[in-house]
């Protein structure tokens, strides 16, 4: 028997065994039902535990109490969400735009790459929010810029890294082809490099979207204008309004999901346009 035949038989058996073993937990509907069931169960246990064990609100308020606050304070919550969301959006776009420009430069000019690479590596592991207080001194306490800048710097990193990767992932065979056709550097960039990098830019934007919201909320803990979600959470907690603080937390979670969802959609569209599956 040849090697190939043996392997095929072995694989066939393994495959058969896998199929026979296929448990109900592998079914498609479980993918949707299991997380929903877990979420519902967690909420139920949470609610019951708060009442049965008499857990104090400072430790964990009941979901129903949070919902009450969410409904009664919806106006203020919406305003704070818009304030934080605007900062996050402007910062995200600013950081992403700068990231794309610098990544494009770094992919073409070697010394810029060498200069920027260690700085970006450092920024990636450093708590950027720490800059918020000094930025407030620089811009004045009434300016939105400190928070926007914190968001921009934090969002810059993932967009820069993925964009540069996208610009560099050009396959050698495409470069050979461009050279064989005597294409100019600019032609090669326009036809091969840039379209190939577009899905990567959006991939970076998806990662950055979560970071942007998180940074916008957290930057408010460091002082400055008191009109956003972060400062509301802090002040509610300081006044022992724990269910209210949790309601603002829920709002910031929703904001994070909205940002993530929109950028994820954009990423999917971009990679479909480019026919490049992003893994």
């Amino acid at each position: 028997m040849t090697d190939t035949a043996t392997r095929q038989i072995a694989l066939g058996q393994a495959g058969g065994r896998r199929a026979a073993r296929r448990h109900w937990s592998g079914q498609g509907w479980v993918r949707v039902a299991a997380p929903l069931a877990l979420g519902a169960a967690a909420l139920g246990v949470w609610e019951a535990a708060v009442h049965l064990l008499d857990i104090q609100p400072y430790l964990l308020p009941a979901p129903s109490a949070i919902l009450d606050q969410l409904v009664s304070a919806i106006g203020g919550i919406a305003q704070a969400t818009i304030a934080t969301g605007t900062n996050a959006l402007i910062g995200l776009l600013l950081g992403a735009a700068v990231a794309v420009v610098i990544a494009a430069l770094a992919s073409r000019v070697r010394w810029i790459d060498q200069l920027v690479a260690p700085l970006v590596a450092a920024i990636a592991v450093v708590p950027i929010v720490a800059l918020a207080p000094v930025l407030q001194t620089m811009y004045g306490a009434t300016s939105e810029m400190p928070r926007i800048l914190v968001v921009a710097i934090a969002s810059f990193v993932p967009v820069f890294i993925t964009t540069l990767r996208g610009l560099r992932q050009v396959r050698p065979v495409h470069l050979d082809l461009m050279r064989a056709y005597g294409a100019s550097g600019w032609q090669a960039t326009r036809i091969v490099t840039l379209p190939g990098a577009v899905p990567y830019v959006f991939g970076g934007l998806t990662i950055a979207s979560s970071i942007a919201v998180i940074s916008a909320v957290v930057a408010e803990y460091f002082g400055g204008l008191q009109n956003g979600l972060g400062s509301r959470i802090a002040s509610a907690a300081a006044q022992s309004g724990y269910p209210r603080a949790w309601a603002y937390v829920v709002a910031s979670i929703v904001l994070g999901l909205v940002f993530y969802g929109v950028t994820l959609l954009a990423e999917r569209l971009a990679s479909r346009w480019a026919h490049i599956p992003i893994t």
Binding site: D176, R179, Y181, G182, A274, H275, I276
Partner: protein
């Protein structure tokens, strides 16, 4: 005029630790309209030789001329079409737009591009797939698109680096037949890199056998081709085909056994020598 003249070309690749002589004083002439296959084990420099002809790399010594021009000028004047083992299609372009690419790069009008691309897509039998994207095609179909693209500018020379290397045997044989038909229609010269003996014999007028370390041409085998009027597929079962296959195989293996003997003599243990033999085959 010859399509390709390679004169005493040497190519040395410098790595950090040492230098590798990929080609050592190689000379080769390909006549206009001639089909030449380059064959040899991995590392014999066959792909390097093709890349020098395409001016994708530059020789360390010696000279390469394409239709009498230096290789660089030939490249800039688009004297050849090229296809690689990977189809190298741009995933965001449709089949038609991929075939149009070389024409677009050189400023052909949209109408002219479209007409030529439709013609070529038809030629390689993908008329129904012109508006598909590469990810919707099989490997064989992608390679046909790559061949269509290489023909876009009516080149008198085709350079092909193992274009069917990643395909299954059935697809491979079908595409070989199609390549012969296309080549008869266009009358272009072809330099075709492969490591399949039957493929080289089936396609080529001459098979250039190469050996590694350093890369050299060891033998050139002339192939008995049937009349152009005969069905090329019938050649696969002819006695002449098997004789040529044997001739090429012996040209290749003569070197192999010599290398093995050399390895044993220089003190390598028997299993190592056997392992090397398996590796090169």
């Amino acid at each position: 005029m010859s399509a390709v003249e390679v004169e005493a070309v040497t190519k040395v690749f410098e790595t950090r630790t040492d230098s590798v002589r990929a080609l050592d004083e190689v000379s080769l002439t390909v006549a206009d309209g001639e089909f030449v296959a380059l064959i040899g084990p991995s590392g014999c420099g066959k792909s390097t030789l093709m890349r020098l002809i395409a001016d994708l790399d530059e020789p360390s010594a010696g000279e390469v001329r394409v239709f009498g021009m230096p290789a660089r000028q030939a490249r800039l004047e688009r004297a050849y079409g090229i296809a690689f083992q990977q189809a190298g299609l741009l995933p965001w372009r449709t089949v038609r737009a991929n075939v149009e690419l070389p024409l677009e790069l050189h400023g052909a009008s949209a109408a002219a591009r479209r007409a030529r691309a439709d013609e070529l897509v038809e030629l390689v039998g993908l008329g129904d797939f012109a508006d598909h994207h590469p990810d919707q095609l099989s490997g064989g179909m992608q390679q046909r698109v790559a061949i269509a693209r290489s023909l876009a500018e009516h080149p008198r020379l085709l350079l092909m680096d193992e274009p069917f290397g990643a395909l299954d045997e059935m697809t491979r044989e079908r595409l070989q037949g199609e390549l012969l038909r296309i080549r008869t229609e266009t009358g272009a010269a072809v330099v075709f890199v492969t490591h399949s003996i039957p493929e080289a014999v089936f396609l080529a007028d001459r098979v250039v056998v190469m050996s590694p370390r350093p890369g050299r041409i060891t033998e050139i085998v002339d192939i008995d081709r049937p009349d152009a009027s005969a069905d090329p597929e019938s050649m696969r079962e002819s006695d002449a085909f098997f004789r040529s296959v044997t001739a090429v195989r012996e040209a290749l293996h003569g070197r192999d056994t010599a290398a093995e003997r050399g390895a044993t003599a220089s003190g390598a243990t028997a299993p190592e020598a056997a392992a090397r033999g398996v590796e090169t085959r």
